[in-house]
């Protein structure tokens, strides 16, 4: 009975909330949340792309320095980038001086057009990946979020980042050239505030995605992140954290995933069988666990199979 009441309440909530959201004025309602001195984050929903969320499923951020505003990632569409700019101007009247793009996934860089007049800086591998795959990502997002994408072109970064420390308007930013989630993942550690922008190297309470992942490389990278002297962790997806727990949780899930795929392949399971593997309880509270695990199988299974099954001819 209690379950039925709960279900009805939940259904009513869903109907009510989609009703509100589905009147599309294409407003992402971006509200800057302060995570440290001069440092703000736009926290996205822990969901997959949909028309209802318009692609606002990602964390982006900015640092206000005496030499202008440093933007980190530009969101999933031109509209997102434009609205981000507006939201930044409610906090500071300083101009935007440069943009850093953490990696080449569409939710992190498709707002670039709104920032086309300033340096947009990314790792060389990220630039290469955007040139190869960016337009296809945008094409696909039109199908998933529709008119939220209006006017969006995959604008590639215009400057290549050099790993190391840069001093910008009183902030000492360390750019780290890493990989694992993709072949080019930039993390940014602000030594002045202790804020680490990890990009998608960290998903917090939101199951990680693997379309371009290299699990063993990712695990190595997580060890690097763990040693960094940060106080605030801004993940690519999920809530901002003040400790290293999200990193441990990432290591836990990736290690389990690696082992589970190995075991499944060795037992001769098909991909669809492997998708039915029981998922450990400790991961159940992570958003999108079932669907992302299935997606990971489609991304990774054949590479595990080819390690076990050798060609005979």
């Amino acid at each position: 009975m209690k379950f039925i009441v709960k279900s009805v309440f939940f259904l009513a909530l869903v109907v009510f909330s989609t009703h509100i959201i589905s009147a599309p004025n294409f407003d992402y309602h971006l509200v800057p949340s302060k995570v440290a001195e001069n440092t703000y984050v736009f926290v996205g929903k822990v969901e997959d792309f949909s028309f209802e969320n318009g692609g606002n499923i990602v964390n982006t951020g900015f640092i206000v320095t005496s030499d202008g505003v440093v933007v980190i990632d530009t969101g999933s569409s031109l509209r997102y980038g434009q609205q981000m700019k507006e939201a930044i101007s409610t906090v500071t009247d300083k101009p935007i001086s440069r943009v850093f793009i953490t990696h080449h996934h569409p939710d992190h860089f498709l707002g670039n057009q709104a920032f086309k007049d300033v340096p947009i800086i990314a790792l060389g591998s990220t630039l290469k990946n955007i040139n190869n795959e960016g337009a296809g990502f945008a094409d696909n997002l039109y199908l998933m979020v529709g008119d939220w994408m209006r006017g969006t072109d995959a604008l590639a970064p215009n400057q290549i980042a050099t790993a190391g420390v840069v001093k910008i308007g009183g902030h000492e930013l360390e750019l780290l050239s890493l990989s694992g989630h993709t072949s080019g993942d930039m993390a940014i550690l602000d030594h002045s505030t202790g804020v680490l922008f990890s990009g998608d190297l960290i998903f917090h309470k939101r199951t990680l995605t693997t379309p371009h992942a290299d699990i063993s490389q990712w695990l190595t990278t997580l060890e690097v992140l763990k040693k960094l002297p940060f106080k605030v962790l801004v993940p690519g997806h999920g809530a901002v954290s003040n400790d290293k727990k999200p990193i441990d949780e990432m290591v836990d899930y990736l290690t389990w995933l690696d082992g589970a795929l190995n075991k499944a392949v060795n037992e001769g399971l098909s991909m669809t069988d492997a998708m039915q593997i029981e998922l450990p309880k400790r991961f159940h509270s992570n958003a999108l666990l079932k669907s992302e695990f299935s997606r990971s199988i489609t991304h990774l299974y054949s590479s595990y199979e080819s390690r076990v099954f050798k060609r005979l001819n």
């Binding site: 337009a135 296809g136 945008a138 094409d139 039109y142 199908l143 529709g146 008119d147 994408m149 209006r150 006017g151 969006t152 072109d153």
Partner: protein
Amino acid sequence: MKPLFVLFITLFLTAACASDDHRGVIEEPYRGLPYHAPTTLIPPVGVTKVSATQLKKLLSSGNKPILIDVYGAIFREESLDFDGAWLVSTPRKNIPGSVWLPNVGKQELNTVVKEYFKNNLIELTEDDKSKLLIIYCIEDCWMAWNAAKRAHEWGYTNVMWFREGIDGWKDINGLLEDSQPVNLPVNE
């Protein structure tokens, strides 16, 4: 000698002008993937652009245009042995009174889709090449641009491109209704 020289110069200049003229009408090629991307604001040569408000006026006039939605769907060779249905991934709404002909604005058409577009145009216009055609899909859709260009090249003289498509229609609070694509011709 002198008249010959003049003749030569005249011929040379005429040839030069002709080639200039020719260069002037070289058209933009059909656009390929990605089809969902911001389009040019300039319609294909020979096609005119129509805005949402202009379209609304046209629709309330006595001389109703033929509305063609070219939004994409999945073509399956095997469906030609059954009902010729397109595979539609998400339900589509378009402008009431429209005919939905998927994929006819792709960069290149296979024989089946090409004949499908040709025959549907003949049927819709009652084989009158001067009938007003309005071609659209969504905003940022090269398939509508391509399809308008194609219809014009096939001899239709009154083709309009509604660049903003259903998104522009929604902007002016235009009504949309559920739509199904016209089936492909099935194999004999």
